[in-house]
């Protein structure tokens, strides 16, 4: 199986730059997920790797071979599209074998490889149906099957689960994870769903406006984000961000009636009067600690196993608090939300992490 190397990859549409120089190494057999808000360029980057978009600058190598100008069908890749892109006038079998026919494979070979893929995906009962006679999940499996048949070095997935309902999405997610284990191929997967990213990826690549914000293992990105953007993007519900000022060896929160929380250890090097953003994950409140905030609960959502309180002080932003079961809390109640000051993250006014 091949790895990929992207060096200074760029894409321009006229004067407009959408990918602004991306450097990335994908190891063989690695499962890499591109995430980012819509318009960040994650799909464009994937299509550049696929050969569906021209590369304006930089280098792309797959398995050590430069691929910039190589035709999409000859890069040793296969792609699963968001809308599945099954040929509506062909049966499942024809759909799966179509690429091999154009690669000049013999009929016997095609049949063998199609059957092989059908077995892996349990498609054999559906082989002679047309795509319109299949359910969403079945179409998805055929689309994956069509990719498997080609024995690609690299699999590309473009938001493959976004057209499925919630339950099927979980099922297919598990199936894709299983396939990765079984096939041992390199996978690049684009999604805007960070749960998919967290659960599937060996490595997550967070993109914003055509640039990589951070690359790393899912939990690394969660625990140790490089900047405020990544911290806000990874984790659900979102991390709370509170503006603060360093004053007299503590952090004062001007928007929260000037409440004071103790300095976390990393803040020691900050100068008096420095403006920072304090990042507290909702779940940090669950364990409690020496720091506390006086807040009024505005709304409480009970999910059964977990409850989230949305609380605020004055006109400041609402703070999301994970409360465990939290059944004895009620809206309108005044609370003291406690947390460990060592667990919070600090960011500069520019959004960089203070470490």
């Amino acid at each position: 199986m091949s790895g990929l190397k992207l060096t200074g990859l760029r894409k321009n549409y006229g004067a407009h730059q959408v990918i602004k120089g991306v450097d990335l190494v994908v190891e063989p057999k690695e499962f890499v997920v591109f995430v980012g808000p819509s318009g960040c360029g994650k799909s464009t980057l994937l299509r550049m790797i696929a050969g569906l978009e021209e590369i304006s600058g930089g280098d792309l190598t797959i398995g050590g071979v430069r691929m910039n100008e190589v035709d999409a069908s000859k890069r040793g890749i296969a792609m699963v599209f968001q809308s599945y892109a099954l040929y509506p006038h062909m049966t499942v079998r024809e759909n799966m074998g179509f690429a091999l026919k154009y690669a000049g494979e013999s009929a016997a070979n095609i049949a063998r490889r199609v059957n092989e893929a059908a077995k892996i995906l349990e498609l054999h009962k559906l082989m002679d149906r047309k795509p319109r006679d299949l359910s969403g999940g079945q179409r998805q499996r055929v689309a994956i099957g069509r990719a498997i048949v080609r024995h690609p070095e690299v699999f590309l997935f473009d938001e493959p689960l976004s057209n499925l309902d919630a339950e099927l999405r979980v099922q297919m997610r598990i199936e894709i994870a299983r396939l990765h284990k079984e096939l041992q191929t390199t996978i690049i997967y684009v999604t805007h769903d960070q749960v998919e990213a967290m659960t599937l990826a060996d490595k997550i690549v967070v993109l914003r406006e055509g640039l990589i914000e951070q690359t790393g293992a899912p939990l690394t990105l969660y625990d140790d984000p490089d900047n405020q953007f990544v911290a806000g993007f990874i984790g659900s519900p979102r991390m709370n961000f509170l503006p603060a000022v360093v004053k007299n060896g503590a952090l004062t929160l001007p928007e929260y009636d000037g409440q004071v929380i103790p300095m976390p250890p990393v803040a020691a090097k900050l100068a008096e009067g420095a403006e920072v953003t304090v990042g507290i994950r909702p779940e940090h409140f669950r364990t409690g600690g020496s720091a506390s905030l006086d807040l009024t609960i505005e709304l409480i959502e009970h999910l059964g196993g977990e409850s989230f309180a949305y609380a605020r002080q004055g006109k400041a932003n609402v703070i999301t608090i994970a409360t465990g079961t939290g059944r004895n809390w009620a809206s309108g109640e005044r609370i003291q939300a406690t947390f460990d000051p060592a667990s919070v993250l600090l960011f500069t006014a520019q959004g960089a992490r203070v470490r």
């Binding site: 021209e54 590369i55 304006s56 600058g57 910039n68 100008e69």
Partner: protein, 297 residues
């Protein structure tokens, strides 16, 4: 540049797909249009022509036959198009009622005339409206008239006949556009209006008609273009002895006049081209006016 070679190839492929059409259009459309524009400034008979400047345009203003063809065409346009559009809308609105019995049959029947060829239906009308033909007979029988109408002899009734014929042929055609557009209106809009207590008539005028505006505009422009080019009917229904536009040029249209100038008389290509550009300009002006009217409302 790395990408530019592939871009160039995609661009060439794009040209390859449109090339056959563009070649044909250049040859059989762009070139004739330019040629006729050029010709409209030439005078002379047959293939002997010379530059005449504005003389063709001057000739237009002095040519009683042209002025008659122009006024006939405008009469057809101003009377026939509104009548037909209103009729089509009425039919569509009535047929859009799902509780109506025989809906499919009615729709098919009213639509059917537009599958006939212009020639075929013209001939039918010609025979039905003969002086002692089936229409006069029926009207006499029903005591609507006391003596037969001279459809193809009286200039006024000849125009009426042409207007009825075009309306017969095209009302159902336009109706299908309106019906399709009405069926695309979200029924919950009507449900909301009913809950709001909007009466049926207001629902039609305040909801249906405004929502159909783009389609009405589209069909009006198409009908205008069609009527300005009216030819087949007046060259058949009101033709006698092989010459159309009768009686006494009372149904002569611009297109028919162009045809006559070119093929019936000693060909006068330059002047005929000038007349054809009158149609082009009329189509342009009227389409523009219709777009403006539709925009303001």
């Amino acid at each position: 540049m790395a990408g530019s070679r592939a871009d160039l190839r995609a661009n060439l492929t794009g040209w390859a797909f449109v090339a056959p059409a563009l070649t044909l259009l250049g040859l059989f459309m762009a070139y004739p249009i330019l040629w006729s524009l050029y010709m409209s400034f030439q005078t002379g008979k047959g293939m002997n022509f010379k530059f005449g400047g504005m003389s063709n345009i001057y000739r237009l203003t002095q040519d009683p036959v042209f002025l008659r063809a122009l006024s006939n065409t405008m009469v057809f346009l101003v009377v026939q198009v509104p009548i037909m559009i209103v009729l089509s809308l009425l039919f569509a609105a009535a047929l859009n009622n799902p509780k109506l019995r025989g809906r499919a049959i009615l729709r098919t029947a009213i639509f059917l005339p537009c599958v006939t060829s212009l020639v075929a239906y013209s001939v039918l009308f010609k025979s039905m409206f003969a002086i002692d033909g089936v229409v006069n007979d029926s009207l006499l029988f029903l005591h609507i008239i006391s003596e037969p109408i001279r459809w193809m002899i009286d200039p006024f009734w000849a125009k009426v006949l042409i207007i009825m014929a075009i309306t017969w042929r095209w009302a159902g055609y336009n109706m299908v556009f309106y019906l399709a557009a009405m069926q695309n209106i979200d029924p919950s809009i009507y449900e909301a209006a009913r809950i709001d207590g909007v009466p049926a008539r207001a629902r039609f005028f305040k909801i249906t008609i405004p929502m159909l505006k783009p389609v009405i505009l589209f069909t009006t422009v198409l009908s205008t273009i069609g009527t300005l080019q009216l030819f087949d009917e007046v060259n058949t229904i009101t033709a006698s002895q092989g010459i159309g536009g009768g009686p006494a040029d009372s149904t002569l249209t611009l297109s028919l006049y162009i045809y006559n100038l070119t093929f019936r008389f000693m060909p006068s290509f330059g002047y005929a081209a000038t007349v054809s550009w009158v149609i082009v300009i009329l189509v342009g002006i009227l389409s523009w006016v219709q777009f403006q009217v539709a925009k303001d409302r």
